[in-house]
Amino acid sequence: MALWSRISNVFRGERLNRDIEEEFEAHVAEAIAQGRDPEEARHALGAAVRRQQESHDARVVGWLDSLRADLVFGWRQLKRNKVTSIAAILSLALAIGACTSAFRLIDALLWRSLPVDHPERLYALSRQGIGFNGQFGSYDSWAYPDFQLMRATVKGQAKLIAISYADRADITFKTDQEMEKANVQHVSGWMFPDFGIQPALGRLFTENDDLKPGAAPYAVLSYDYWSRRFGRDPNVVGQTFHFGDGIYQIIGVSEKKFTGTEPGTIIDIFIPTMMNPRVTRQDSTWFRMLIVVPPGTAVEPLRAKLAAVTHAFEAKRLSGETGLSPETLKNVLNNETLLKPAPTGVSWMQEEYNRALGALGVLVLMVLLIACANVANLMTAQAAARAREMALRVSIGAGRWRLVQMVLVESALLAFLAAASAALFAWWSAPLVVSMINPPDNPARLILPADWRVLGFGIGLTLVVVLLFGLLPALRASSVRPVSILKGGDDPHSRQRLMHGMIALQVAFCFFVLLIAGLFVTTFKRLSNKPTGFSAERILLLETTSRPAQSPIYWDQAADHLRSIPGVERVSQASWPLLKGVGWNDSISVNGGPPSVDLAYFLNVSPGFLETMRIALIGGRDFRDGDLYNNTAIVNETFARRFLNDDNPVGKAFEIASDDGKRQPMQVVGVMRDAYYRDIREPMLPVVFVPFLHKDEKDQMLPEKEETFVVLTAAANPMAMASTLRQEVSRVRPEFHVSNARTQVELDQAQMIRERLLATLAFFFGAVALLLAGVGLYGVLNYSVLQQQREIGIRMALGAQVGDVARRVMTGISVAVGIGAVAGLALGLASVRYIESLLYEVKATDAGVLAIPCLTILLAVVVAAVPPVLRALRIDPVAMLRVE
């Protein structure tokens, strides 16, 4: 109580003094009323007034009071240099905010454990090696029968959980006309109990819901989806919906904290794995495997056991696949099985953005260091201006620690003002960055908690920042020797050395940031300027599904109907749009030879697709109505080169060699220019377009479940027609439903989302770094001109030329800039290999890339140097000498 009242007294200092004064006044008045001589009463109290300070001291804790005094004094200092203070606070706020924001993203995506029991016991199983496509890679998808074998083998030692990739699927709660999208995921029935997840409503799956294929058409909603879609309606349990070919009943809602095991995607609906039609297939891999390893089980023996089981499974399965080349078979069976810790879950976004976020984190940290160096220089310059004040304080007995405290408090005040603005910036910017990861129709959703972790990081960072920019100036200020100040100035060179050191650091970091930003921007430019081989302009894609599947004739009727709508120039069909990211591949056999190790990639298209997409036909003809899948193909140049020896491929024959040994003869009717099929970053693939019309052995036309209408519109913005065309498709046949309407331009851009994000943010931080470094340079140059004006004046009086003066001002700083640039270059070249996977067709050693930081920094130096140099030149020797 007493301590508390003392602490609170610290903040009531003024009032307390007034209280005491008033009490003394009352005392004197009383004395006079009692007949004492006023003069004498006042005099008697004089001693007390002198001891008022003592009374006050009794009421406050000493150091707290001095802290308050320092805060007030620091605040006045900040207010006195308003412009510089605001600049310092803003630059620190931006840098701290960006760092905190980067921390939030990295923490949420990569570091935060899943909200399950014992996340540290979670492992993920994957394979690494050369896959069926002949490429080296890491694969984490598994076949269910394989999973069942593994699960039985390690029963009692570890729990295996199957979790499919989140599927952005069409689901229907009422009629087919009200189809909507939801993230659906197939999970093992025992996942919820193994994770220790409780129901928020109803019940969750148990092992009993996941015993037999197709036996338990039940669904569990995530809390997030239940809130968004149903407004937390408790009556949702028991409702049914359509998904795929089945009808599912909602049995419960999972706990709020659990949003799935894929950071970056929030699951809406969980379904038992046994409801997936592929659950009995040996040749289809469609889910990830998480393994709970209890404390008693050693990881390596467990991995070896699982590896042995899956190897035996694959060997047995592939022995039946006569269509594989021996080389592929050998490669696939040589794959290594890996068991890696996965306390944070596993997701595509983690893999895709792990390095990108790391790189951004480093960039913003550099910006923070640049900002700190700036503020440190500012504080040093101010400390110089206050050297006399400090000397005075020392001469009247201020302790060294007292001075350090005073300067540090001022720094802390600055930093915490900055941190408050930074918190706002981080609160706003982290979700903004996530929203920039926005593939059409399926934007990333990342849970970004603002909890004690983020708060702790922010506070920790602010304290570090205070020490970074405050400690050195504080120690310097406190080590002031009154004698040297009173003699007319201490050694100014030591202070300049410090400032020049800071400049070198700033330039090094700035060079680094600009170099990396240049690499990212160049990558994005190279990718976006890359010709795709087709024209995406004015193309609207209507990805359409049909339940049940319809004959190709009806699909063609729908296309005909769309053609009749005003504003539509051309319509054709494809199984899926180019650059959607999916593919269908098979081996090729020419002249009855063995199946190729290289795979060819296929797409069903209608006649006119080439024309709609504006892909050039360079030989032969386009498809015609009535062309059948069974004997016509259009191949691209790469295909012709790789499989058909390139010389006039039209009319040549080849076979599609399936894994199971079936051969499908094909004949080339046309050759087209190369166009990107799946991903613009991969090398050009050998591509074969084939017709939709597909007759089976009994000469029956096979029905189609989904097709994409590729619509070329007359208007520049194809999206304007999306809703009309959506309705028109369903009007032709009610079985048809457009599940996605997007533009080809969107798909093209979706290829470069990460690159655009990196380029945008790196460009922004590059600009900030350059600005801060420029301001820092200007500040230091300006300061050194002020410091040297006496000397410059004397030199000019003695006949120094303009060039001499400019050189005198610039020499020190030029050396600092040069050293900084070299250090930054070394730093950049050393670290560029960590971001190589993020770059495209660009190297750090490219002249164009190196020119970016060199030229911009040179420009910044020139711009920053002009005003101080002019100032130096305008020094009037006479006036300067007269002052002395």
């Binding site: 109580m1 007493a2 009242s5 003392r6 209280d19 005491i20 008033e22 009490e23 003394f24 009352a26 005392h27 008045a29 009383e30 004395a31 009323a33 009692q34 008697a44 109290l45 001693a47 007390a48 002198r50 001891r51 003592e54 009374s55 009794a58 009421r59």
Partner: protein, 109 residues
Amino acid sequence: MPKTDSLQGSLDLLVLKILSRRPRLHGYAIMSAIGEMSDDVLRAEEGSLYPALHRMEESGWIRAEWVTKDTGRRARIYELTAAGKKQLAAEESRWVTVTSAVNRILRTV
């Protein structure tokens, strides 16, 4: 608790004792009371009294309150707290011990 010398100790004791008999006095009244009751033998200096009052207030022995007097002037009056009563008892017994010890010495010598 701040270390008190014997003189200050006796001032504290006097103030506490007076406040226990006559609660709600202001500083001047306490000063006058000390004079009156000791037949002007003892006199509390303003310079010691007020710091002592504030210190005792911080220690929680007495509490202060602003009241408006009939004259319209505000006065700060003091009264004993429970802790103050305990302190008074302790100080009183200490005083008795000290004075009786001093008396014993005076008698013996």
